[in-house]
Amino acid sequence: MTLSAVAVDAGELPLGGGLLTLLRPALLRVAPGGLVAVLSRDRAARDDLQRWCQVEHHGFLGSEVVDDRGTQRHLIERGRLGVPRPEREAGLPLALQEDGHLLAATVLDQAPFPEHADPHTGFAPRGAQVEPGGPPYPVSLLDRAHVAPPDVARLYDQAVAAQWDASRDIAWSRITRLPDALEWSVGQLMTFLAENELSALYVPSKFIPRLHPHFAEVGMFLATQVADEARHIDVFLKRARVAGGSLGVSSVTTSHSLLSLLQIEDFTEAEFMLSVLGEGTFIDLLRFVERHAPDEPTFELVRRARADEARHVHFGLSHVRHALAHDAGLYGRLEQSVRRRAATMSAVGGVPTPIQDALVVLAAGGDAPDRISRGHEAFRELLHEMHDNRMHRLEHAGFSAEQARTLSELHTPNFM
């Protein structure tokens, strides 16, 4: 709230010994041209205030003695050359949850995202009274519609509550070495999962510094995603090696596919490719590994990773749905982007064969010939399931059934 006049009683405080500590905030409470009266019994105050006002470009209007103890009243006009700061926020208490928790979503409700953000506000948090004239920051994600879905703070709250520990929360001691074929299959799959997780760590990371800080909750959510992916890399590589197994093959198909993800420079396009299509399909893959897990701890670590991935997919869906609702041209751009990626990928073949073989052996529970055909059956079902679920997710993201079919069929054979 801005006042037209304020009085400050500075007692005997000298300028540098407390008077300014009272005066400076008082000046912020009046508009340019507003008055602050300073009562002071410090005999140097008059000269010092006059000089200080000149340096800070406030008006020093004069002094008068107001009592017989030598108290002077100095009248200061807040400088008109000073650029007024924006109003302070209203300041309402934040509503706690019934259990006393205070959620980021509650803060976002009270201090909502702006529609557009100004790079000149720098790292000032949303709601701060930003002094105009600051330098522009090199941030390019400035539009709420293309950056910040409304439920991002809720997803951040969930993510923080759901963090787990890849060294402590898995019963590593209960994993023993598997028969060779299965041990190879697990090592190969964990290698592939970790490789994909690395891409999921790199891609969101690069968009964090491009976000305008007024959309901090988006960066905060992405930070939880990056921490999740770090844990997934950790847990999958531990699983591959814990019982003396080793890592498997990294294929050129996978490498091409993940590079094309890393090279996307548009945030919405990247969210769509990585989180809706890639991590969406990844969830189906994790569910498959979980269903055919050779032991309880492997089941548990994949289950935990899949629960994290569900949040990443949720954010991607919210992001794309929100952007589609505000941007009529977005579908066309996303389809083009998927087509471009499919074109560059068409030369590199289908699901990398080591992955295909490892999935079949895993589902077969080993390499006995009588089981392998069941494994093949399960793998073919997985591909169908991935396509069906992709279509559902795409429709959920706001695409028509027709659009969803087109996009799903173009999706990379590498899953991610």
Binding site: L13, G16, A44, Q54, G79
Partner: protein, 268 residues
Amino acid sequence: MSDAILLGAVAYDAKVVPIWEGIREHFQSEGVPMDFVLFSNYERQLELLLRGHIDIAWNTPLAHVRCKAATEGQSLSLGMRDSDRDFHAKIIVRKDAGITALAGLAGKRLAVGSRDSTQARILPLHFLREAGIDLRAVALVPFDTDVGKHGDTGTSELHVLDALRSGAVHAGAVGDLIWVLEQAAGRINPSELEVLWTTPGFDHCMFDALPTLAPDKVAAFQRALFAMRWENPTHRRLLELEGLKQWMPPREEGYASLVAALTAPDLL
């Protein structure tokens, strides 16, 4: 190049480069070609102004008064900072020194700044003498740092304040700008130091030119200079660096005391 205004400034601080690079860019955008030359001291800058090697010199009050004298009052004054007006010097004393009036300085140690610092040496001593103080009875402790920079760097004033804080001197002379800025930054202990006396006011830096500078260059320089606005973020960065909010027209009356001080017998 030849019709660009050539301005001289003294490189008293690294920030002088971005200041004048920025102001040159602003002048360019105003359609006024300008370039600058940096000097290491005001004596050389004034010498080359008088010889016509530069068009305009950004001068300290000491260099300004010398410029006026060298041109028999004919040099042109083109503008000054708002913060250059109504400077004062302060005589600061330690509270434990028992000095309650100017006469009490007799027999005490008084720290002063560089011999070419207007605000920390030349004028405070001049005004003390005018106030009837016999300086031969005061033990002057001079800090001659950055001579040639005419006190611009402020280091000799900071030495004066350090000497006061450590108790090496009883009293010290500093400009009121340093005094207020040090207080505003919370670096003065008010239970230790206080102001004994404030001198009359005087003015600080000035853009000087020879009377032979072409009138269209004078007009173009002043037009571009006074077009700088605090409200403009690009200008504001430069104005903040240079320590002003607004360029002001010139005035001469603020230099009368310095003229008098320089014509008086040697102060030290």
